[in-house]
C-alpha cells in the first residue's frame, strides 16, 4: 500500500491527488492506474494550473469559430482552417534536434486528427544569447531538427520567430504551430462512440521512448546536473509522412468514427479522452499493441510517447478495410480493443485487468489557482526617469551598424533557407518577403499566418506585453491584406507554484483575452508550458500568439519588401518619444527598462482596417508593421529583403523636436510603413485622414544608399549592398 503511494509521488502526483484517486476508484490503484493518472493530470496534459483562466478567452469573432478536442479553427467558404500551437521546450533543451523534430511531428498529428491536411508550419523559437556556446548548440540543433523532420514530412515551414535573450539560457522555447485545411463536412473528432465499434492502433510500434515525457519533463523545473535525456522521444518523419497520407485516405472511407493522436501521455491520453469525449467506455488489450521491444510492462505501454502513432475508432465490420490502407503505406495497424457503454477505460494485459478507471474522472484533473503576487522587480524596471538622462548618440551610422549585427534584428535567411518553405506549392509570400501568405488551390482567397510576442515587453508589463503581441500579430496580417480571423496561443512561463510567476501568467492571459475580444478574434486552441525555469532563473513571460487571417483576393497579397525605385515611402501612424523595452536600449545601452510602448487598441483596429483596404484595392506595393528596431529597422527590412537590395532616401525633420534616437529606433505601436506609386500617395493620404490615422510622406525608394536625413543634416548614409551582406551573415 505504501509502495503504491510512493510510486504515485515519484510520478509527480501530490498526496491529495493520490487520495482523490483512491476515492474515485473506491480502492487502492494499481501501478498502471497511478501511471495513467499521473500523465493525464500532469500540467502538460490536464492544465490544472491554467484551465480556469481559459474562461476569459473569447470564443466568437468575425468568422465562425470551431472548437475541436485537440485543435480549433475557423470556418470560411466551404472549408475549415484548423490551427494550433504547442510547445516542445524541455525536450529541445535536453536534446535539441530530436526535441524540435518531435515537436513538429506532434503538432502535425494534432491537425491531422481533425481530419485536415497540414499545409504549413511556423516556429517561434527563443534561445539564450547566440554568443553563448551552449545556447548556440541548442539553437543550431533545433533548426537542424526542424529541417530534418519538417522537410521530409512535406509540410512547408513558412514562418515564425527567432529571439535571443539571456533568460532562455537554461531553458529554450520551441513553439510550433501547424495550420491545416479540411472540407467542413469532412472534419473528424477525437471520440470513441458506438457500442462494439473497433479501436484500431496505427503507425509506429510502441517502445520505451518518451516515458513520462509530459509528467516528468514538461511539468517540473530543470534542476542542476539532472539527467533527463531518456524522456525525450525519437522522431521518424518518413513514417509521419506515410501516416498523413494513410490517415487522410482512411478518413475518406467514412468508416472512421473518431481519431486521436498518441502524443503526450500516449495511449493513456488518446484512449481516455476519446472515451470521455464520446461518453463511452473503451476496452484495450495491450497484448495486441505492436511493441518495439519485449518485456514491456503495462504502465510502460500506457505511458510511452513513441512517435507517429494514432488511435482510431472504426465502424465494426469495416476494420479490415481501414487496416489495409495503413498496411499499404507500410504502417502498423492492429485492432487493440472495442467501444462499450461502461464509461470506463479498461485495460487488459497478459490475461489480467491492469486498469479500470472511469474515463470522465480520469480526464478531469483538479484545478489549482495558487496565490499570486505582483513581482517586486516591476517597479525598478519601469522607472522611465532613467531614459530622459540617456545621452543622445553622436553617430547614428555606428548605431545602425551595431544594431544590424544584433541577432534579434538581423536577417533570418540562414534559418528559413534550411526549411522547405515551398513544398505543396501554395506559398505566395515567401519567408523574408513579408507576412507568409498561402493560396488555397481552387479558391480566390488565401490564408496569412504569423506568430508574435515580445518577451521584454511581457517582462516589463505582462498585461500590456500580451496585448501588444495580439496587436502586432493582427497588424502583421493586415499589412499583407488579410483580415485577422483567429488565434492559437502558446503560453510559456516559469513555475506557477511561485506567486510572482503565476501573477505574470494571469496578467498575460487577461491581456490576450482583452485584446482579442476587442479585435473580435476567437482563441480557438492553445497550449500552456509552465516550469520553464533553470537554476539561472525563469524565462521571460512569453505568451506567443499564433494568428491566422483570410485574404479575400490572394492575388492582391502585399509583401513587406520595396519593389521598385521611385515608389514613395509612407508612414501610417505617428512617432512618439518612446524608448522603453526597445532593442535599441538593450543593444546600445545594455538596459532592459520600461515601460513598454503605449497601446491604443482602437488606433490599432483603425490601422488594421486601413491596411486591409489598401491591399484589397491594390494601392500599396509593400506594407509592414513598425516594431522591433523601430522606423529604421522597418525601412531596412523593406530595403534589404529583395534579391537585389534597394536604396531609400527619407527625411525625419518633422520630428526634430523629439529625441532623435526615439524617432529612429523607438518602438511605438500603431504604425505601419507602406510604399506606393507616386501618383497613389494622395488617395492613401485621403483614406488615412478619413479614418483619423496620421499619414506622413517620408521619402522615396531608390539609389544605392540607405539614407536618413533631418532637413539638410545626414543622419545615416550607408550603401545597401554592404548592409545586406552584414545583415544576412550574422547568424551563419
Amino acid at each position: 500500500m505504501e509502495d503504491i503511494e510512493k510510486v504515485s509521488e515519484e510520478l509527480g502526483l501530490r498526496k491529495e491527488e493520490y487520495q482523490r484517486i483512491v476515492e474515485i476508484l473506491g480502492r487502492t490503484p494499481t501501478p498502471t492506474e497511478v501511471a495513467m493518472f499521473s500523465v493525464e493530470w500532469s500540467e502538460h496534459c490536464g492544465y490544472p494550473h491554467s484551465r480556469k483562466w481559459f474562461e476569459l478567452f473569447p470564443r466568437e469573432g468575425h468568422f465562425p469559430a470551431l472548437f475541436g478536442e485537440d485543435a480549433g479553427g475557423i470556418l470560411y467558404d466551404d472549408l475549415a482552417i484548423i490551427f494550433k500551437m504547442e510547445s516542445h521546450n524541455h525536450p529541445s533543451q535536453i536534446e535539441p534536434r530530436q526535441g524540435a523534430a518531435t515537436g513538429i511531428g506532434g503538432i502535425i498529428r494534432d491537425i491531422l486528427g481533425s481530419g485536415a491536411r497540414p499545409i504549413a508550419c511556423l516556429d517561434s523559437l527563443h534561445f539564450g544569447p547566440v554568443e553563448d556556446r551552449n545556447a548556440r548548440h541548442v539553437f543550431r540543433g533545433v533548426v537542424d531538427g526542424i529541417a530534418f523532420y519538417g522537410n521530409c514530412v512535406g509540410v512547408p515551414t513558412v514562418g515564425g520567430e527567432l529571439y535571443f535573450h539571456p533568460s532562455y539560457r537554461g531553458n529554450c522555447l520551441v513553439n510550433v504551430m501547424c495550420v491545416g485545411i479540411a472540407e467542413k463536412s469532412k472534419l473528424a473528432r477525437a471520440v470513441a462512440q458506438g457500442r462494439d465499434n473497433i479501436i484500431l492502433y496505427v503507425g509506429n510500434k510502441t517502445g520505451r521512448d518518451g516515458i513520462g515525457g509530459c509528467s516528468i519533463l514538461a511539468s517540473q523545473e530543470f534542476a542542476e546536473g539532472e539527467e533527463k535525456r531518456p524522456s525525450v522521444q525519437i522522431g521518424d518523419p518518413f513514417t509521419e509522412k506515410c501516416l498523413i497520407e494513410a490517415t487522410l485516405e482512411a478518413l475518406a472511407t467514412g468508416f472512421v468514427v473518431g481519431i486521436k493522436d498518441m502524443g503526450a501521455a500516449g495511449l493513456t491520453c488518446s484512449a481516455s479522452e476519446m472515451a470521455a469525449a464520446g461518453r463511452s467506455g473503451i476496452e484495450l488489450d495491450l497484448d495486441r499493441v505492436p511493441l518495439r521491444e519485449e518485456g514491456m510492462e503495462a504502465w510502460e505501454i500506457m505511458m510511452s510517447e513513441s512517435q507517429e502513432r494514432m488511435l482510431l475508432c472504426v465502424t465494426r465490420g469495416h476494420e479490415e478495410e481501414v487496416r489495409q490502407i495503413f498496411k499499404k503505406w507500410g504502417l502498423e495497424a492492429e485492432v487493440v480493443g472495442s467501444v462499450n457503454e461502461s464509461g470506463k477505460v479498461t485495460i487488459f494485459y497478459r490475461g489480467e485487468v491492469v486498469a479500470d478507471i472511469p474515463a470522465l474522472e480520469l480526464t478531469a484533473p483538479p484545478i489549482y489557482t495558487p496565490p499570486r503576487e505582483k513581482p517586486a522587480y516591476l517597479q525598478a524596471v519601469n522607472d522611465d526617469s532613467r531614459l530622459n538622462s540617456l545621452p543622445l548618440p553622436r553617430n547614428y551610422e555606428e548605431i545602425v551598424l551595431r544594431m544590424i549585427a544584433s541577432p534579434n534584428l538581423c536577417s533570418r535567411r540562414w534559418v528559413y533557407e534550411q526549411y522547405d518553405h515551398m513544398v505543396q506549392t501554395n506559398t505566395v509570400v515567401l519567408p523574408g518577403k513579408g507576412t507568409p501568405v498561402l493560396r488555397v488551390k481552387g479558391k480566390k482567397w488565401g490564408i496569412a499566418v504569423t506568430t508574435d510576442c515580445n518577451p521584454v515587453y511581457c517582462y516589463l508589463d505582462p498585461y500590456r506585453g500580451a496585448q501588444i503581441a495580439v496587436a502586432e500579430a493582427a497588424l502583421n496580417l493586415s499589412a499583407c491584406g488579410a483580415r485577422p480571423a483567429g488565434i492559437t496561443d502558446c503560453l510559456n512561463f516559469g513555475n506557477p507554484e511561485k506567486p510572482e510567476r503565476y501573477w505574470q501568467f494571469v496578467e498575460a492571459v487577461r491581456g490576450i483575452a482583452d485584446a482579442s475580444r476587442f479585435f473580435g478574434l476567437p482563441i480557438v486552441s492553445g497550449n500552456v508550458s509552465f516550469y520553464n525555469e533553470s537554476p539561472q532563473g525563469a524565462v521571460h513571460p512569453t505568451p506567443t500568439i499564433g494568428m491566422v487571417g483570410i485574404i479575400e483576393n490572394v492575388e492582391r497579397a502585399v509583401g513587406g519588401v520595396f519593389k521598385e525605385e521611385g515608389h514613395v515611402v509612407v508612414l501610417l501612424g505617428d512617432i512618439k518619444e518612446e524608448l522603453g523595452g526597445s532593442e535599441y536600449l538593450r543593444v546600445i545601452h545594455g538596459l532592459e527598462v520600461g515601460p513598454p510602448p503605449s497601446l491604443s487598441l482602437a488606433d490599432e483596429k483603425k490601422l488594421q482596417e486601413l491596411l486591409i483596404e489598401l491591399a484589397h484595392r491594390g494601392i500599396v506595393t509593400a506594407a509592414l508593421d513598425v516594431s522591433e528596431g523601430g522606423l529604421v529597422f522597418a525601412l531596412l527590412e523593406a530595403c534589404l529583403g529583395g534579391e537585389v537590395p534597394l536604396g531609400v532616401v527619407v527625411d525625419v525633420k518633422r520630428w526634430e523636436n523629439l529625441r532623435m534616437d526615439a524617432v529612429l529606433f523607438g518602438e511605438s505601436r500603431g504604425r505601419a510603413l507602406v510604399s506606393v506609386r507616386e501618383d497613389a500617395y494622395l488617395p492613401v493620404e485621403r483614406m488615412a485622414r478619413e479614418r483619423g490615422i496620421p499619414c506622413f510622406l517620408l521619402g522615396k525608394v531608390g539609389g544605392k544608399d540607405f539614407l536618413v536625413q533631418s532637413g539638410g543634416r545626414v543622419l545615416v548614409s550607408l550603401p545597401v549592398g554592404e548592409l545586406k551582406r552584414t545583415w544576412e551573415q550574422v547568424l551563419s
Binding site: C152, D236, P237, K241, Y416, Q418, T425, T427, R439, V644
Partner: protein, 236 residues
C-alpha cells in the same frame, strides 16, 4: 497524351507535379504506385521530389529496387521520356539511368531558395521551347544536390551535350557565389545521351504559375507536351 507521376512512400512533391500537369496544363495525368509495374500507357513518367523510403540508406538508393522502377527502366529502353526532379534525379542516378552522383551540399545544410539557371541544351524534349543560353528562375530545395563525377566522365557528358542546366547569376554569371550546393561546374541538370531522360535538382513544378512568382518551370512541361504532340504518332 498521358503523364504518370510515380508515388513512392515518402514522395512529397508528387501532388505538386500532378497539380501542374492536370490542373494548370490540363493534360491527362495519373499517379503510378511504387509497388505496381503497369505504367498505364504513359508517354512521360515523372519521378517527383521528396524523401522516397525516408532516404534512409542513401538518397534514392532504396527506390531503385521498387517494382515500378523495373518498368521505368524498360520504358527508357524503349525510348520513353522520364523526368526526375530532385529526389527523382537522385533515383535516376542510383538506377544507373543517368551518370554521376549527388553528394551532400557544400555547406552541409538543406537549402531552399530560388536559383537562376542557364539552359545549356535546347535540343532535348524537355527544353525545346527555351532559347539557347536562356536564363530562367526555378527554386531548389535539397540536402544532397552537389553533383559530382570523375573528370573523364564529365568530359564525355559535356562532349555529348548532356549538361542541360547550370546554376548562374541573374545575368548568367557562373562564379561559385551563385552555386548553391558546390555542384561540379555549376551543374543543375543532366540528360541521357539520347536526351530522353532528364534529371534536375531544381523544382519546375514550383515555378509553373504566375502567383508563385515564376512560370519558367512550366516551359519544361510545355516542351514535353509539344515534343509528344510531334512525336507521339511515330511511337504508336
Amino acid at each position: 497524351m498521358k503523364f504518370g507521376v510515380v508515388v513512392f512512400p515518402g514522395s512529397n512533391c508528387d501532388y505538386d507535379c500532378y497539380y501542374v500537369l492536370s490542373e494548370v496544363l490540363r493534360v491527362d495525368t495519373v499517379f503510378l504506385w511504387h509497388e505496381d509495374r503497369d505504367l498505364q500507357g504513359c508517354d512521360c513518367v515523372i519521378l517527383p521530389g521528396g524523401f522516397s523510403y525516408g532516404d534512409y540508406l542513401r538518397t534514392g538508393a532504396i527506390a531503385r529496387f521498387s517494382p515500378i522502377m523495373t518498368s521505368v527502366r524498360d520504358f527508357v529502353r524503349e525510348g520513353g521520356l522520364v523526368l526526375g526532379i530532385c529526389n527523382g534525379f537522385q533515383i535516376l542516378l542510383e538506377s544507373g539511368l543517368l551518370p554521376g552522383a549527388l553528394l551532400p551540399n557544400r555547406d552541409g545544410h538543406f537549402v531552399c531558395r530560388y536559383t537562376h539557371l542557364k539552359v545549356e541544351n535546347t535540343s532535348t524534349p524537355f527544353t525545346r521551347l527555351f532559347s539557347p543560353g536562356e536564363i530562367i528562375r526555378i527554386p531548389i530545395a535539397h540536402h544532397q544536390g552537389n553533383f559530382f563525377m570523375p573528370s573523364r566522365d564529365l568530359e564525355k557528358i559535356k562532349h555529348n551535350r548532356q549538361v542541360v542546366f547550370r546554376y548562374c547569376g541573374p545575368q548568367g554569371e557562373e562564379d561559385s557565389g551563385f552555386n548553391p550546393n558546390g555542384s561540379l561546374e555549376n551543374i543543375a541538370g543532366i540528360a541521357s545521351p539520347d536526351f530522353r531522360v532528364l534529371g534536375m535538382m531544381p523544382h519546375p513544378e514550383r515555378a509553373s504559375e504566375e502567383i508563385l512568382g515564376s512560370q519558367d518551370g512550366k516551359k519544361i512541361f510545355l516542351s514535353v507536351i509539344a515534343w509528344l504532340e510531334e512525336n507521339r504518332r511515330g511511337r504508336h
